[in-house]
């Protein structure tokens, strides 16, 4: 595993810029420009910018992917006239929403009304800083990446509830309450399913977890945990069949009923950011991250940025699964959702933890490893 990493790339860019500046203006007192700390600071900024651009681009691509896939499942074409095959459709949507007025309802709480979407968006973006995309392509190499990611991920109900309450609309309020209840209910099974992964891999670091999957991906031995995790993620992402907070049929648009213009765009983007994060987590925890099995031809794994490529392919495939579920399943009801969450998912996740413990103790993991892989990319 050699070559460029995300940080080295941004470091190179930053130092090149600063060195260029220093060479263009060879002033005696400009030595501070090439100071390593300054270069480091600038490269951090560039790093963040690249991350932001990449995550936004991916989110928008994800929306396009969902629209096209949904269209095909529904026997139609989906967006196709704006840009090639509708690729620019979501840019048009974003630009239009950016231009539109934002109407604040009378008697709405402006602090919560405006801060809700922004914080919702920002917390979703933060997670991208710590998710590894390929070996070396991550921001913070913290030892507890997984926990941090899940912790930030579960901030969302708070902000949703704040913005729902602030918009002073009954539908919003009901949507916010549903959202909070549902996210809290599904936090526990998700965390327990993650515990199963942690037991098997022995680490809270996402990069380590991926490297632990070099020999076998975890989806085989930890199938129960995968099921629980995917179901929980569907609930966290508020997608059909668990899209109750935005249930279009009864609550007009759920908690973003009163939001229009850019704030609505924030909600929309953050929703899909969370969907992207959910898909990425599934890939990282269960599908071997950026690694491929050993039996694939080596040409597929050695081209530049192959890790990122395969990682993206897997992520979009997992999201395609979510879209497929969305296209074919009805929405459940609140009480059913909570009942499933507390009565089914938690026992199931406990079972997953127990199975993981048994597997580790008996050391029979490779038997279940469906995709033997010698990793190394």
């Amino acid at each position: 595993m050699s070559g460029a990493t995300l940080f080295s790339v941004s470091f190179d860019i930053g130092s090149a810029i600063l060195r260029g500046i220093a060479s263009v203006f060879p002033m005696p007192e400009s030595g501070w420009i090439t100071n390593p700390d300054v270069i480091l600071g600038l490269s951090a900024v560039i790093f963040a910018a690249i991350l932001l651009a990449a995550s936004m681009l991916n989110t928008i691509l994800l929306i396009w992917w969902e629209r096209k896939l949904l269209g095909r499942i529904m026997d139609r074409r989906g967006a196709m006239h704006v840009g090639y095959a509708g690729l620019l459709q979501n840019f048009a949507d974003g630009l239009k929403l950016f231009r539109k007025n934002t109407v604040q309802p009378r008697e709405a709480d402006s602090l919560g009304f405006y801060s809700g979407p922004v914080t919702y968006m920002v917390t979703s973006l933060i997670i991208f800083g710590i998710l590894p995309i390929s070996s070396g392509w991550n921001g913070g190499a913290l030892p507890l990446t997984l926990l941090l990611a899940l912790a930030i991920f579960s901030f969302a109900p708070l902000f949703i509830f704040v913005s729902a309450w602030s918009s002073n609309n009954k539908y919003s309020l009901m949507g916010g309450m549903r959202s909070a209840a549902q996210m809290i209910a599904y936090e526990v099974p998700i965390l327990l399913a993650v515990v199963a992964v942690v037991i098997v891999s022995g680490s809270f670091d996402l990069t380590t977890i991926v490297y632990e999957q070099q020999n076998y991906w975890f989806w085989g031995p930890l199938f129960v945990a995968l099921i629980v995790f995917v179901a929980g993620m569907l609930a966290e992402m508020e997608r059909i069949p668990f899209d109750l907070p935005e249930a279009e049929a009864e609550l007009v648009e759920g908690w973003n009923t009163e939001y229009g213009g850019m704030l609505f765009a924030f909600f929309m983007l953050a929703d899909y950011l969370r969907a992207l994060i959910g898909s990425i987590l599934v890939v990282l925890l269960f599908l071997g991250g950026w690694t491929l099995p050993t039996w694939v031809p080596s040409g597929l794994t050695t081209f530049p940025l192959a890790g990122i490529f395969w990682f993206m392919v897997k992520t979009y495939a997992v999201f395609g699964l979510f879209v497929w579920i969305r296209a074919s399943l009805p929405r459940v009801r609140t009480d059913q959702l909570l009942r499933v969450g507390w009565n089914r998912m938690i026992p199931l996740s406990l079972l997953a933890v127990f199975l993981a413990a048994v597997l580790v103790t008996v050391k029979c993991l490779p038997v279940f490893g469906c995709v033997p892989s010698a990793g190394g990319m």
């Binding site: 269209g71 095909r72 499942i73 529904m74 026997d75 139609r76 074409r77 196709m80 497929w324 579920i325 296209a327 074919s328 399943l329």
Partner: protein
Amino acid sequence: MAQELTATEKPNENPILWVTRPMATAARQFAKSLFRPSTIVYPYERLEDPKFRGRLKVASGKPFGVGQVWDNYRGVHALNIATCISCNLCAFSCPDLCIDMVTVPGGDPKHPKKCPQIDYGKCSYCGFCSDACPEGCLTMTTRYELSTTKRSEMIYSPQKLLEVFQHKLPMNPIRLARPANEDAILLEPLLCIGCNACARDCPTQCITMLDIPKPEAKPGEKLPKRIWKEPVVNDSDCVRCGTCISVCPKECLFWGTRR
């Protein structure tokens, strides 16, 4: 009858996994529509194009439209001004009162030629007018794109309807046969004053004024003051528009069954 109650019981199948069956159905549909969804890319493809006509292709899973859907579609009218006889029947038969008869150039000054002007903001496309048109000059075409930015552009003058006609769109081929026991225009001779109004205004010129013998005035009786002519209607040419009845000053013409 084999069964009396058909759907009495809910099918109580136990799904293996509660999501598999609908997801499998969706996947099957996805596989079908992957390369050719049943969408018609409207501004570029049109259902009225010949390639969508013809036989139905549902068997292949691509429902694209049925047969001669378009031949008798009721869209914008086409008016052949040349054959219009200004009989007013279209305006009479319009349930929505959207047809005005306006003067078009071409008539003689005494009998200005009047052709229908249609307000498509009121028209309900029922086809009564084209059914009523005796000469077949007002028909409905397959044109349906009528969006405008001004309300006034929705009013189609006879000239504009003529333009539609000149586009030679497919027209509604269904012509209704005339009822065999149609009533005819009858005359109450005692009331008639022979004023020629009916013959003058008849759009088909099927009324001729024939001389009638002037009766001898009996002593003490005063002859009615009138022209000694009487209208005779040629039933085979008459289109039953009722113009003669409406212009008759003495209300001496009426509908009835000719013996």
